[in-house]
Assembly symmetry: C2
Homo-oligomer: 435 residues x 2
């Protein structure tokens, strides 16, 4: 059944960390990759900013273009690997041109897929080409393949993931060192774990791009970045880690997608013995809950040249082996539009609440009266240290509570003279399987 | 590009827990699975022992056969799902007949693939059929797909797995309760986590079948069960868990495969903060180390109708979608024979050693002199409690040590009058990534 195949010609747009590593692997491990792919994978053209930059591989025999758009114009190219980035502009133009001309398109560009995935998947189908983006989600973890193929026989009930290594590193470090966000972020920037402009990471946008893609595949709807609720980690205070810990929880930025609900990127508390809570540092992790499988967890490096190029190479091999498949697991015509995703608060959930209150008699009675008024019941309470007249933390966990009720109660509390700062509240994610 | 497809006809051999669950899913979720597969998946025939047994699905419209062999004789069947078990006999006959007649063959039968994988993959290739066994390894974790496709662009450096949920449950429970093996095994049997005849599980055979398959795919050689070193968990004593813990380790049955080395199923110590050490209870886990990806961990349910049927369904969908592929990731003609696997002790490794010695002056000097003689250096030492004249445990961890040296030293120690039981030694697996 092994057909003689003639080899695939590849053009790479963008030779940054990931693009260079993809090129280096394709050149240095040419024979191994040909065996894995069933045919040879040959770089014939590249495009990047600086032709004279030092590189870990030779450009000999490879055509150079200053303009990425020219790659799509070459008739002999079978696959375009886009490593430029950005949801619009050059990358998007290249995607459109490549797919329109029937070239397979492999990308790590999560922003572009989250914003334009439907359009590009439609173009891919119409032109009998593959649109592949394993590298766009959770780096070296084959998360897209696991969901789209490995668990294809399941009805997915939930996807929950730690999707940004920078945030996970910052939160882990804040927890272990007790230091504040700004300080840890500065360290992360020095170590190269965070960008000089960190907003994409710490405000949850990068992770939300990935969540958008996972939700679309999991629940069979068009990817729609605008239908994702996004919260980052800037508001977490170092004191919350210790309180959470005493109550049996760890603070993580987790993306959660459930059928029919708006996917949400949220800073939340996980039980210490849950699988996701054990994933620390720069790692990514995705937990898939499905019927009949139960729960499957994947953990791995979420960024970097090595991890990302692994995902790109697996996409190239899939295309070569004829198993590229449909971008979102089914034809675009069968994907629900994103109005299938309800903009709602979702089911009631337990919450962690921290109030900074004046330590004086009657505080607890006042606070609990407000909670009672809104039908919110307390599950756990921490009131540590005594400093009469000073401001102390009053920490509570609640039983399942409607988000709207909690919000009303917090607003009332904030107005109390004894409450000295905006109340902090984070949802507690309990349904995560324990292991 | 979506071609109209006519549907695939499926015959299921064996309606035990897994076979029944596969049938139930195929019937009850027929529409969803047809969408995922791109064509309908229809059961047309089944074979099992007892036609009149109560089942969670209706056999209406499905042909019944008492003899599984007859399924392969039906011209209209596209795929045979084999859920009978056993490496030889009916299952093997059915596999041969199915593949010879060009029918795709899907199985959870790890023993058969570990023993006869090469023959069956050869038959599959020769007859243009798919041989699929995702369900044979680590249950609901798509471990075969992750290795064969998701990480296909990597040079695999190591695969390490917790591949038997029964053993992991027993070890986890021994650790948390301090109870002995026999007692915990009896409990596991009552709870349905262990078979009445537990040997396949607790002696490491079931896990070694899975390791055989993973090693073959990871390193591109023919699967060969006889080229796997196997050790079970019967010799672990409850006292070792506490000692290991004090030294910063946890005891696990781990299968390890590395390039060119005999895959080994071994009871070993893992650092408490390693990813595999955190996988407790009946779960399975597989950790893949590769270049360029680094380390990817997968965790999930390793057994049971739900988990296993998820894997079977994903194989069926892959076949329907035309991405069945080659059983071991490359043509059989390109697989090395198992002589590629050296029967050696592998690289030097650190060890945990426990001696039961008479508590008297000079014991430590005697023991350390033997270690020094064999060039073995001590990394950690525990000598707890004082009971002059009585037998106490002397626990050590060593630096990297050749297995042969350790064995000689242990033999000498065993002969000492002050050593009152056979020394216990377990390797320490350090290279596991931490997270």
């Amino acid at each position: 059944m092994t057909k003689a195949k003639s080899g695939l010609k590849i053009a790479i747009a963008g030779l940054g960390v990931v693009g260079s590593e993809v090129a280096r692997q394709l050149i240095n491990r040419h024979g191994d990759l040909a065996t894995a792919a069933g045919q040879s994978l040959d770089i014939v053209a590249v495009s990047a900013r600086d032709r004279s930059a030092d590189r870990a591989f030779s450009l000999d025999g490879i055509d150079w273009y200053d303009d990425a758009a020219q790659l799509a114009a070459r008739d002999d190219v079978d696959i375009i690997v886009e490593m430029i980035g950005g949801s619009e502009g050059v990358a998007l133009d290249l995607a459109r041109a490549s797919l329109s001309s029937g070239k397979h398109f492999v990308t790590a560009n999560k922003a572009m897929i989250a914003h334009h995935g439907t359009e590009l998947a439609t173009l891919a189908e119409a032109n009998n080409a593959n649109l592949m983006f394993e590298a766009a989600v959770a780096g070296g973890i084959p998360a897209v393949k696991t969901l789209r193929e490995g668990l294809a026989g399941n009805q997915i009930n939930r996807v929950a993931g730690i999707l940004n290594g920078t945030c996970n590193y910052i939160l882990s470090t804040m927890e272990t060192t007790g230091r504040d966000f700004d300080e840890v972020l500065a360290d992360a920037q020095r170590l190269g774990y965070a960008e000089a402009e960190p907003s994409f990471d710490v405000d949850g946008i990068d992770a939300a791009h990935k969540l958008t893609i996972l939700a679309a595949i999991a629940f069979g709807h068009q990817p729609d970045f605008n239908a994702v609720s996004i919260q980052g980690i800037r508001d977490v205070s170092s004191v919350d880690f210790a309180y959470a810990n005493q109550l049996g929880f760890r603070i993580k930025l987790v993306g959660v997608a459930e059928p029919g609900l708006m996917p949400r990127m949220q800073t939340c508390l996980l039980p210490l013995n849950s699988q996701l809570a054990k994933v620390n540092g720069v790692l990514n992790a995705v937990e898939f809950h499905g019927t009949p499988v139960g729960s499957v967890l994947t953990v791995g490096p979420g960024a970097g040249g090595g991890a990302t190029s692994s995902a790109v190479l697996s996409d190239l091999i899939d295309i070569a082996a004829g198993r590229g498949g449909l971008a979102f697991g089914k034809p675009v015509s069968q994907l629900a539009d994103s109005s299938a995703v309800k903009n709602g608060a979702g089911p009631d959930k337990p919450f962690y609440v921290r109030l900074m209150v004046v330590d004086q008699p009657g505080v607890l009675a006042t606070v609990t009266a407000i909670l009672q008024k809104h039908d919110i019941s307390i599950e756990g309470l921490l009131q540590q240290g005594r400093a009469p007249g000073d401001v102390v933390a009053l920490v509570m966990t609640t039983h399942e509570t409607p988000v709207a009720s909690l919000k009303k109660a917090l607003d009332e509390m904030e107005d109390l003279p004894i409450v000295k700062a905006k109340p902090v509240a984070m949802p507690i994610l309990l349904a995560d399987s324990e292991g």
